[in-house]
Amino acid sequence: MIEVKDVSFTYPNDVEALHGVSLKIQDGEFVAIMGQNGAGKTTLVKHFNGLLKPTKGEVVVDGVNTTKASVATLSRKVGFVFQNPDHQLFCETVKDEIAFALKNFGFKENTIKKRVTWALNLLDLKKYRKTSPFMLSGGERKRVALASVLAWNPKVIILDEPTIGQDQKQKDRLRQFINQLITQGKTVVIVTHDVEFVAECNPKIVLMANGKILAEGSAKQILTNRYLLTQASIVLPQIAQIFTGLADLGLPIDVINVHEAKKVLLDFMEVNS
């Protein structure tokens, strides 16, 4: 469990990025931290693995205060997949890349071999085992970065803006993958401003603006609240926009994805015919 207790954070250049943020993330939860660029989302999640330490307040991960543990120790439990895979790829082969963290964490040779193979299979990268990561396409490099984090099997996985530059197929695959992780009991935290993606995933949402948490709630509650979303400078998902427009006909407004929309509309039409 991750507990954020009244955390404020100011960068060295005197920019206050977080003001009095409090949050609890339970084991096995799927949470989306949303807000516009500059709202403080990435700053917040960097506290979860100790990359940033609060200027005020404290962050406790599985009972350990983050100021009392190194980033390496915390990362063992909290895996962070950065937005740009090119900020971490440096090895000669994909398998070395995936093994890197395992070596750092002190895994034994046998375990490393097994884990690397497992991660490669999980993300459909087996054929690139001996390929240089620099030769792969953008989407493939993202998968290598993800594989290299999953390899050490952290309890919590943080994905920072995983949908940027991705096409629909890649997003669908990502969504399925996240569901897989959740069923395996992992805690998944995604930082994103992609409302359409979130509307299809249905996580718990933490909405941020200007370094504060505006609201927490289910996807249905938050993504249909026009007032809240305007404050956070986020756009409503298209389906929610449609149903806001249909509210005066007596239709519910908390509909965010196509599947549900169809059901609601068909039911409505049956009732009224």
Binding site: Q36, G139, H259
Partner: protein, 282 residues
């Protein structure tokens, strides 16, 4: 009048094993707002670079077929000649701003072209006003947000007064509101100044509403080419992996369940309107 025309355009990168573009034949009319989309690796980025000569002059490789841009044959004209007619705005805002102030960046292209200082000042002022960034004139690019940086990039291209503006996924790094603002700026350039726009985008939820011509590519080929409503409504489009607007998806799903709507919606406003018609009917 066609402002961009390609016939049988085929291209392979120097180090490429397979063709990046295969027999691409498209026509873009003056003043159109074209949305070019397709799955990752379909060749849309390569195609953009054919329009201003980066392919083949910067990248090398083998370019076959005709590419005519504002009447100029790309094979026969250098990139700097084509730059007067076609502007290209790239995905990463940070990597297309060189100078230490916004106004110097906007002037960059004009300086390269040797435009006299008085004329340059006028054009810089005009470009800053048109993209609504006059108040950012003296700022350094590093201090700006991604959305502001992209507007500077657009202004820098605009200052060169091209007939065509090509934008390669310009909103990738922006949040939805920032993306919307950029699309609005581009739309104004298209509607008010008559600049032909070719926009490469994945985010059709936000961009589809502006298009009057849609081109869909896959594996280096043009798969679909026509009006937005026709193309987005096709099952084939969705199955290719294109992220059609959710309003259009809802339409498809309802059609399958026997509910007939009067037209194919691509925005939520349209969907709301036509759904109201159907629901009030009952």
């Amino acid at each position: 009048m066609a402002v961009i025309e390609t016939k049988g355009l085929t291209y392979t990168y120097p180090s490429g094993t397979k063709r990046a573009l295969e027999d691409v034949s498209i026509t873009i009319e003056r003043g159109e707002f074209v949305v070019l989309t397709g799955p990752s690796g379909c060749g849309k980025t390569t195609l953009c670079r054919c329009f201003n000569g980066l392919v083949p002059h910067f990248y090398g490789g083998k370019l076959e077929g005709d590419v005519l841009v504002t009447g100029l044959n790309v094979h026969e004209h250098s990139i700097y000649e084509l730059a007067r007619h076609v502007g290209l705005v790239f995905q990463n805002p940070e990597n297309q701003l060189f100078a230490l102030s916004v106004e110097k960046d906007v002037a960059f292209g004009l300086e390269n072209l040797g435009v006299p200082r008085d004329e340059m000042k006028k054009r810089v002022d005009w470009a800053l006003q048109t993209t609504d960034i006059e108040d950012l004139r003296e700022r350094a690019p590093h201090e700006l947000s991604g959305g502001q940086q992209q507007r500077v990039a657009i202004a820098s291209v605009l200052a060169m007064q091209p007939n065509v503006m090509v934008l390669d996924e310009p909103t990738s790094f922006l949040d939805p509101l920032g993306a919307q603002r950029i699309f609005e700026v581009i739309n104004e350039l298209n509607k008010n100044l008559g600049i032909t726009v070719v926009l490469v985008e994945h985010r059709l939820d936000l961009a589809a509403r502006y298009a009057d011509h849609v081109i869909i590519m896959d594996e280096g080929r043009v798969m679909l080419d026509g009006k937005p409503r026709e193309i987005f409504g096709l099952e084939k489009t969705r199955l290719m992996g294109i992220g059609i607007p959710k309003s259009t998806r809802l339409y498809q799903v309802l059609e399958k369940s026997g509910v007939h709507l009067s037209k194919v919606p691509i925005t939520s406003e349209e969907a709301t309107q036509i759904l109201k018609e159907v629901l009030n009917r009952d």
